[in-house]
Protein backbone atom coordinates (compact mmCIF):
# COMPACT_ATOMS: atom_id res chain seq x y z
CA UNK A 1 0.00 0.00 0.00
CA UNK A 2 2.77 2.43 0.94
CA UNK A 3 4.40 2.10 -2.50
CA UNK A 4 1.19 3.52 -3.99
CA UNK A 5 1.85 6.80 -2.20
CA UNK A 6 5.11 7.24 -4.11
CA UNK A 7 4.24 5.51 -7.41
CA UNK A 8 4.28 8.09 -10.23
CA UNK A 9 1.37 6.48 -12.04
CA UNK A 10 -1.64 4.50 -10.89
CA UNK A 11 -3.91 2.31 -12.95
CA UNK A 12 -6.49 4.62 -14.56
CA UNK A 13 -9.19 2.38 -13.07
CA UNK A 14 -7.88 2.96 -9.54
CA UNK A 15 -7.60 6.73 -10.03
CA UNK A 16 -11.06 6.77 -11.64
CA UNK A 17 -12.68 4.72 -8.88
CA UNK A 18 -11.13 7.10 -6.34
CA UNK A 19 -12.63 10.08 -8.19
CA UNK A 20 -16.02 8.30 -8.20
CA UNK A 21 -15.85 7.85 -4.42
CA UNK A 22 -14.75 11.47 -4.00
CA UNK A 23 -17.73 12.69 -6.08
CA UNK A 24 -20.05 10.58 -3.90
CA UNK A 25 -18.56 12.16 -0.79
CA UNK A 26 -19.07 15.64 -2.31
CA UNK A 27 -22.75 14.83 -2.96
CA UNK A 28 -23.07 13.67 0.65
CA UNK A 29 -21.23 16.46 2.50
CA UNK A 30 -21.77 19.40 0.11
CA UNK A 31 -24.80 18.23 -1.88
CA UNK A 32 -23.26 18.98 -5.28
CA UNK A 33 -20.86 17.63 -7.89
CA UNK A 34 -17.23 18.77 -8.04
CA UNK A 35 -16.69 21.12 -11.00
CA UNK A 36 -13.77 23.32 -11.96
CA UNK A 37 -14.78 25.92 -14.56
CA UNK A 38 -16.84 28.10 -12.17
CA UNK A 39 -13.73 28.88 -10.11
CA UNK A 40 -12.08 30.65 -13.08
CA UNK A 41 -15.26 32.66 -13.61
CA UNK A 42 -15.25 33.65 -9.94
CA UNK A 43 -11.59 34.68 -10.24
CA UNK A 44 -12.50 36.83 -13.26
CA UNK A 45 -15.42 38.34 -11.35
CA UNK A 46 -13.15 39.20 -8.40
CA UNK A 47 -10.66 40.90 -10.75
CA UNK A 48 -13.57 42.72 -12.37
CA UNK A 49 -14.79 44.00 -9.03
CA UNK A 50 -11.31 45.39 -8.30
CA UNK A 51 -11.21 47.35 -11.57
CA UNK A 52 -14.87 48.15 -12.31
CA UNK A 53 -16.94 47.40 -9.22
CA UNK A 54 -20.28 48.79 -10.43
CA UNK A 55 -20.16 47.31 -13.93
CA UNK A 56 -19.21 43.86 -12.63
CA UNK A 57 -21.82 43.99 -9.87
CA UNK A 58 -24.51 44.84 -12.42
CA UNK A 59 -23.77 41.84 -14.64
CA UNK A 60 -26.46 39.17 -14.58
CA UNK A 61 -24.01 36.27 -14.78
CA UNK A 62 -22.08 37.38 -11.69
CA UNK A 63 -25.34 37.58 -9.80
CA UNK A 64 -25.92 33.90 -10.65
CA UNK A 65 -22.33 32.98 -9.73
CA UNK A 66 -21.24 35.38 -6.99
CA UNK A 67 -17.50 36.15 -7.31
CA UNK A 68 -16.52 35.08 -3.79
CA UNK A 69 -14.02 32.71 -2.20
CA UNK A 70 -16.30 29.75 -1.45
CA UNK A 71 -16.55 25.95 -1.90
CA UNK A 72 -16.67 26.22 -5.68
CA UNK A 73 -13.72 28.61 -5.85
CA UNK A 74 -11.46 26.58 -3.53
CA UNK A 75 -11.67 23.43 -5.69
CA UNK A 76 -9.13 24.81 -8.21
CA UNK A 77 -6.37 25.90 -5.75
CA UNK A 78 -7.00 22.52 -4.09
CA UNK A 79 -6.34 20.67 -7.37
CA UNK A 80 -3.07 22.62 -7.83
CA UNK A 81 -1.97 21.65 -4.30
CA UNK A 82 -3.09 18.02 -4.66
CA UNK A 83 -1.26 17.53 -7.94
CA UNK A 84 1.81 19.25 -6.47
CA UNK A 85 1.79 16.84 -3.51
CA UNK A 86 1.37 13.83 -5.83
CA UNK A 87 4.17 15.01 -8.15
CA UNK A 88 6.38 15.86 -5.16
CA UNK A 89 5.93 12.45 -3.52
CA UNK A 90 6.75 10.60 -6.73
CA UNK A 91 9.58 12.97 -7.68
CA UNK A 92 7.97 13.86 -11.01
CA UNK A 93 7.60 17.62 -10.38
CA UNK A 94 9.44 19.51 -13.12
CA UNK A 95 9.10 23.02 -14.53
CA UNK A 96 8.12 22.78 -18.17
CA UNK A 97 7.64 25.68 -20.58
CA UNK A 98 6.45 24.10 -23.84
CA UNK A 99 4.78 20.67 -23.62
CA UNK A 100 7.16 18.11 -25.25
CA UNK A 101 4.29 16.60 -27.27
CA UNK A 102 3.65 20.01 -28.83
CA UNK A 103 7.36 20.74 -29.33
CA UNK A 104 7.80 17.48 -31.26
CA UNK A 105 5.32 18.68 -33.87
CA UNK A 106 5.60 22.48 -33.85
CA UNK A 107 9.06 23.09 -32.36
CA UNK A 108 10.02 24.58 -29.01
CA UNK A 109 8.99 28.20 -29.77
CA UNK A 110 7.33 29.59 -26.68
CA UNK A 111 5.54 32.54 -28.39
CA UNK A 112 3.89 30.21 -30.94
CA UNK A 113 2.78 27.81 -28.23
CA UNK A 114 1.62 30.65 -26.00
CA UNK A 115 -0.63 32.15 -28.68
CA UNK A 116 -2.17 28.77 -29.56
CA UNK A 117 -2.61 27.67 -25.96
CA UNK A 118 -4.00 31.03 -24.82
CA UNK A 119 -6.60 30.81 -27.62
CA UNK A 120 -7.28 27.26 -26.38
CA UNK A 121 -7.73 28.43 -22.81
CA UNK A 122 -10.12 31.21 -23.87
CA UNK A 123 -12.25 28.79 -25.93
CA UNK A 124 -12.21 26.32 -23.02
CA UNK A 125 -13.41 28.98 -20.58
CA UNK A 126 -16.07 30.38 -22.92
CA UNK A 127 -17.32 26.92 -23.92
CA UNK A 128 -17.39 25.51 -20.40
CA UNK A 129 -19.59 28.34 -19.13
CA UNK A 130 -21.79 28.14 -22.24
CA UNK A 131 -22.23 24.39 -21.71
CA UNK A 132 -22.71 24.94 -17.95
CA UNK A 133 -19.79 22.77 -16.87
CA UNK A 134 -16.55 21.06 -17.87
CA UNK A 135 -15.04 17.58 -17.99
CA UNK A 136 -15.42 17.39 -14.19
CA UNK A 137 -18.83 18.94 -13.57
CA UNK A 138 -20.56 17.50 -16.65
CA UNK A 139 -18.16 14.75 -17.75
CA UNK A 140 -18.07 13.04 -14.36
CA UNK A 141 -20.40 14.80 -11.90
CA UNK A 142 -23.32 15.15 -14.31
CA UNK A 143 -22.95 11.78 -16.03
CA UNK A 144 -22.99 10.18 -12.57
CA UNK A 145 -26.55 11.54 -12.26
CA UNK A 146 -27.38 10.13 -15.73
CA UNK A 147 -28.00 13.70 -16.92
CA UNK A 148 -28.81 13.98 -20.64
CA UNK A 149 -27.45 17.55 -20.62
CA UNK A 150 -24.10 16.26 -19.33
CA UNK A 151 -23.99 13.50 -21.94
CA UNK A 152 -24.60 16.10 -24.69
CA UNK A 153 -21.84 18.31 -23.26
CA UNK A 154 -19.41 15.38 -23.01
CA UNK A 155 -20.12 14.48 -26.65
CA UNK A 156 -19.36 18.10 -27.62
CA UNK A 157 -16.10 18.16 -25.58
CA UNK A 158 -14.75 15.05 -27.28
CA UNK A 159 -16.04 15.67 -30.82
CA UNK A 160 -14.49 19.16 -30.81
CA UNK A 161 -11.31 17.97 -29.12
CA UNK A 162 -10.80 15.02 -31.48
CA UNK A 163 -11.35 17.16 -34.61
CA UNK A 164 -8.90 19.87 -33.50
CA UNK A 165 -6.28 17.36 -32.36
CA UNK A 166 -6.44 15.42 -35.63
CA UNK A 167 -6.18 18.68 -37.56
CA UNK A 168 -3.14 19.77 -35.49
CA UNK A 169 -1.23 16.52 -35.23
CA UNK A 170 -2.56 14.41 -38.13
CA UNK A 171 -3.88 10.87 -37.91
CA UNK A 172 -1.41 8.67 -35.99
CA UNK A 173 -1.64 5.75 -38.42
CA UNK A 174 -0.84 2.37 -36.92
CA UNK A 175 -1.48 3.50 -33.33
CA UNK A 176 -4.51 2.76 -31.15
CA UNK A 177 -7.82 2.88 -32.98
CA UNK A 178 -5.98 3.73 -36.22
CA UNK A 179 -3.90 0.54 -35.89
CA UNK A 180 -7.12 -1.49 -36.04
CA UNK A 181 -7.85 0.05 -39.44
CA UNK A 182 -4.61 -1.24 -40.93
CA UNK A 183 -1.55 0.67 -42.13
CA UNK A 184 -1.27 4.15 -43.63
CA UNK A 185 -3.05 4.60 -46.94
Amino acid sequence: MLELLFAPRWSPYLAGAGIGLLMTLAFLLSNRPIGCSTAYLKARGMLGRLVAKERTGAMEYYRRFAPTVDWQFMIVPGVVIGAFIAAGLSGTFALELVPPFWAERFGGSFPLRWVAALAGGILLGFGSRWAGGCTSGHGIGGNIQLSIASMLASAGFFIGGILVSLALFGIPWGQGVWGLLGGAP
Binding site: I19, G20, Y61, W71, V79, L124, S136, I144, L146, A153
Partner: protein, 187 residues
Protein backbone atom coordinates in the same frame (compact mmCIF):
# COMPACT_ATOMS: atom_id res chain seq x y z
CA UNK B 1 -23.34 18.24 13.93
CA UNK B 2 -26.06 17.07 11.58
CA UNK B 3 -25.58 16.69 7.84
CA UNK B 4 -27.69 19.81 7.26
CA UNK B 5 -25.50 21.83 9.66
CA UNK B 6 -22.38 20.65 7.81
CA UNK B 7 -23.90 21.76 4.49
CA UNK B 8 -25.00 25.16 5.85
CA UNK B 9 -21.69 25.95 7.59
CA UNK B 10 -19.99 28.23 5.03
CA UNK B 11 -16.45 28.31 6.46
CA UNK B 12 -16.54 24.53 6.80
CA UNK B 13 -17.79 24.19 3.21
CA UNK B 14 -15.00 26.47 1.95
CA UNK B 15 -12.49 24.19 3.72
CA UNK B 16 -14.21 21.12 2.31
CA UNK B 17 -13.94 22.59 -1.20
CA UNK B 18 -10.19 22.91 -0.71
CA UNK B 19 -9.99 19.33 0.68
CA UNK B 20 -12.02 17.86 -2.20
CA UNK B 21 -9.83 19.79 -4.63
CA UNK B 22 -6.63 18.44 -3.06
CA UNK B 23 -7.77 14.81 -3.32
CA UNK B 24 -9.12 15.42 -6.83
CA UNK B 25 -5.80 16.93 -7.95
CA UNK B 26 -3.85 14.08 -6.38
CA UNK B 27 -5.96 11.49 -8.22
CA UNK B 28 -5.84 13.36 -11.56
CA UNK B 29 -2.04 13.55 -11.32
CA UNK B 30 -1.65 9.87 -10.39
CA UNK B 31 -4.04 8.84 -13.14
CA UNK B 32 -1.88 10.70 -15.68
CA UNK B 33 -4.61 13.11 -16.76
CA UNK B 34 -2.56 16.22 -15.98
CA UNK B 35 -0.16 15.49 -18.85
CA UNK B 36 -0.78 17.15 -22.21
CA UNK B 37 0.53 14.02 -23.97
CA UNK B 38 -2.07 11.81 -22.27
CA UNK B 39 -4.95 14.15 -23.16
CA UNK B 40 -3.77 14.52 -26.76
CA UNK B 41 -3.23 10.74 -26.90
CA UNK B 42 -6.89 10.34 -25.98
CA UNK B 43 -8.12 12.95 -28.46
CA UNK B 44 -6.02 11.28 -31.19
CA UNK B 45 -7.66 7.98 -30.15
CA UNK B 46 -4.57 5.94 -29.29
CA UNK B 47 -4.21 6.33 -25.50
CA UNK B 48 -7.49 5.61 -23.71
CA UNK B 49 -6.30 6.61 -20.21
CA UNK B 50 -8.72 9.57 -19.98
CA UNK B 51 -11.74 7.50 -21.04
CA UNK B 52 -10.76 4.77 -18.55
CA UNK B 53 -10.48 7.29 -15.69
CA UNK B 54 -13.76 9.00 -16.57
CA UNK B 55 -15.70 5.78 -17.18
CA UNK B 56 -14.59 4.17 -13.92
CA UNK B 57 -15.29 7.40 -12.01
CA UNK B 58 -18.79 7.55 -13.51
CA UNK B 59 -19.37 3.84 -12.80
CA UNK B 60 -18.42 4.11 -9.11
CA UNK B 61 -19.96 7.56 -8.67
CA UNK B 62 -23.32 6.70 -10.19
CA UNK B 63 -23.73 3.76 -7.84
CA UNK B 64 -22.72 6.02 -4.94
CA UNK B 65 -25.10 8.76 -6.08
CA UNK B 66 -27.98 6.28 -6.54
CA UNK B 67 -27.36 4.91 -3.01
CA UNK B 68 -27.42 8.45 -1.58
CA UNK B 69 -30.62 9.18 -3.51
CA UNK B 70 -32.21 5.95 -2.21
CA UNK B 71 -31.57 7.12 1.35
CA UNK B 72 -32.73 10.66 0.56
CA UNK B 73 -29.24 12.08 1.29
CA UNK B 74 -28.76 14.20 -1.83
CA UNK B 75 -30.73 15.95 -4.57
CA UNK B 76 -30.20 15.82 -8.34
CA UNK B 77 -28.28 18.72 -9.90
CA UNK B 78 -29.25 18.30 -13.51
CA UNK B 79 -29.54 20.99 -16.19
CA UNK B 80 -32.29 21.25 -18.83
CA UNK B 81 -30.77 19.74 -21.96
CA UNK B 82 -30.69 21.62 -25.25
CA UNK B 83 -28.45 21.36 -28.30
CA UNK B 84 -27.98 25.15 -28.21
CA UNK B 85 -26.54 25.02 -24.67
CA UNK B 86 -24.61 21.85 -23.93
CA UNK B 87 -23.80 20.63 -27.44
CA UNK B 88 -22.89 24.06 -28.84
CA UNK B 89 -20.99 25.09 -25.70
CA UNK B 90 -19.42 21.63 -25.53
CA UNK B 91 -18.11 21.94 -29.10
CA UNK B 92 -16.53 25.34 -28.35
CA UNK B 93 -14.98 23.77 -25.24
CA UNK B 94 -13.74 20.94 -27.46
CA UNK B 95 -11.88 23.36 -29.76
CA UNK B 96 -10.03 24.70 -26.72
CA UNK B 97 -9.51 21.20 -25.32
CA UNK B 98 -7.71 20.19 -28.54
CA UNK B 99 -5.59 23.36 -28.80
CA UNK B 100 -4.53 23.42 -25.15
CA UNK B 101 -4.33 19.66 -24.51
CA UNK B 102 -5.87 20.14 -21.06
CA UNK B 103 -9.30 20.87 -19.54
CA UNK B 104 -10.16 23.27 -16.67
CA UNK B 105 -9.49 20.72 -13.90
CA UNK B 106 -6.34 19.30 -15.47
CA UNK B 107 -5.03 22.84 -16.14
CA UNK B 108 -4.91 23.23 -12.35
CA UNK B 109 -3.35 19.77 -11.99
CA UNK B 110 -0.72 20.50 -14.65
CA UNK B 111 0.22 23.74 -12.82
CA UNK B 112 0.79 21.58 -9.74
CA UNK B 113 3.24 19.32 -11.57
CA UNK B 114 5.17 22.32 -12.92
CA UNK B 115 3.64 23.18 -16.31
CA UNK B 116 4.20 26.87 -17.01
CA UNK B 117 2.13 26.45 -20.18
CA UNK B 118 -0.89 25.51 -18.04
CA UNK B 119 -0.42 28.62 -15.91
CA UNK B 120 0.36 31.36 -18.44
CA UNK B 121 -1.92 30.13 -21.23
CA UNK B 122 -4.39 27.68 -19.67
CA UNK B 123 -5.41 29.42 -16.46
CA UNK B 124 -5.06 32.94 -17.92
CA UNK B 125 -7.14 31.92 -20.97
CA UNK B 126 -9.79 30.31 -18.75
CA UNK B 127 -10.15 33.49 -16.70
CA UNK B 128 -10.48 35.57 -19.89
CA UNK B 129 -12.83 33.09 -21.61
CA UNK B 130 -15.22 32.64 -18.68
CA UNK B 131 -15.34 36.45 -18.36
CA UNK B 132 -16.17 36.82 -22.07
CA UNK B 133 -19.04 34.40 -21.61
CA UNK B 134 -20.32 36.43 -18.65
CA UNK B 135 -20.48 39.43 -21.02
CA UNK B 136 -22.50 37.67 -23.72
CA UNK B 137 -24.57 35.50 -21.33
CA UNK B 138 -27.71 37.73 -21.47
CA UNK B 139 -27.96 36.94 -25.22
CA UNK B 140 -26.29 33.51 -25.61
CA UNK B 141 -27.87 31.93 -22.51
CA UNK B 142 -31.54 32.34 -23.52
CA UNK B 143 -30.75 31.53 -27.18
CA UNK B 144 -29.12 28.25 -26.15
CA UNK B 145 -31.93 27.33 -23.80
CA UNK B 146 -34.61 27.63 -26.48
CA UNK B 147 -32.60 26.10 -29.35
CA UNK B 148 -32.96 22.34 -29.82
CA UNK B 149 -34.54 21.57 -26.48
CA UNK B 150 -34.72 17.90 -25.52
CA UNK B 151 -37.65 16.53 -23.46
CA UNK B 152 -35.67 14.23 -21.13
CA UNK B 153 -33.54 15.43 -18.21
CA UNK B 154 -32.11 12.03 -17.27
CA UNK B 155 -31.75 8.50 -18.63
CA UNK B 156 -34.66 7.55 -16.30
CA UNK B 157 -36.91 9.98 -18.23
CA UNK B 158 -35.58 8.66 -21.55
CA UNK B 159 -36.56 5.13 -20.52
CA UNK B 160 -40.10 6.29 -19.77
CA UNK B 161 -39.77 7.58 -16.21
CA UNK B 162 -38.30 4.45 -14.64
CA UNK B 163 -36.79 4.27 -11.13
CA UNK B 164 -33.17 5.52 -10.89
CA UNK B 165 -31.77 2.04 -10.27
CA UNK B 166 -33.48 0.68 -13.41
CA UNK B 167 -31.57 3.34 -15.35
CA UNK B 168 -28.29 2.81 -13.46
CA UNK B 169 -28.09 -0.91 -14.23
CA UNK B 170 -28.11 -0.72 -18.06
CA UNK B 171 -25.73 2.29 -18.06
CA UNK B 172 -23.35 0.44 -15.68
CA UNK B 173 -23.43 -2.63 -17.95
CA UNK B 174 -22.77 -0.44 -20.99
CA UNK B 175 -19.73 1.13 -19.29
CA UNK B 176 -18.41 -2.33 -18.35
CA UNK B 177 -18.85 -3.54 -21.94
CA UNK B 178 -17.06 -0.47 -23.34
CA UNK B 179 -14.15 -0.90 -20.89
CA UNK B 180 -14.06 -4.66 -21.66
CA UNK B 181 -13.87 -3.97 -25.40
CA UNK B 182 -11.07 -1.41 -24.89
CA UNK B 183 -9.06 -3.97 -22.90
CA UNK B 184 -9.83 -6.75 -25.40
CA UNK B 185 -8.58 -4.59 -28.25
CA UNK B 186 -5.50 -3.65 -26.22
CA UNK B 187 -6.34 0.07 -26.33
Amino acid sequence: MTLEEVRQNRPLQTGLGLAFGIVFGFLLERGGATEHAVIWGQLLLYDFTVVKIMASAVLVGMIGFALLRSFGLTEPHVADPSLGTQLAGGLVFGLGFGLLGLCPGTVAGAIGRGSIDALVSGAVGLVIGTGLFATVYPRVGPWGARTGRLPWRTVSDLLGGVNLWLAVVPVALLILVVLGVLEYLGL
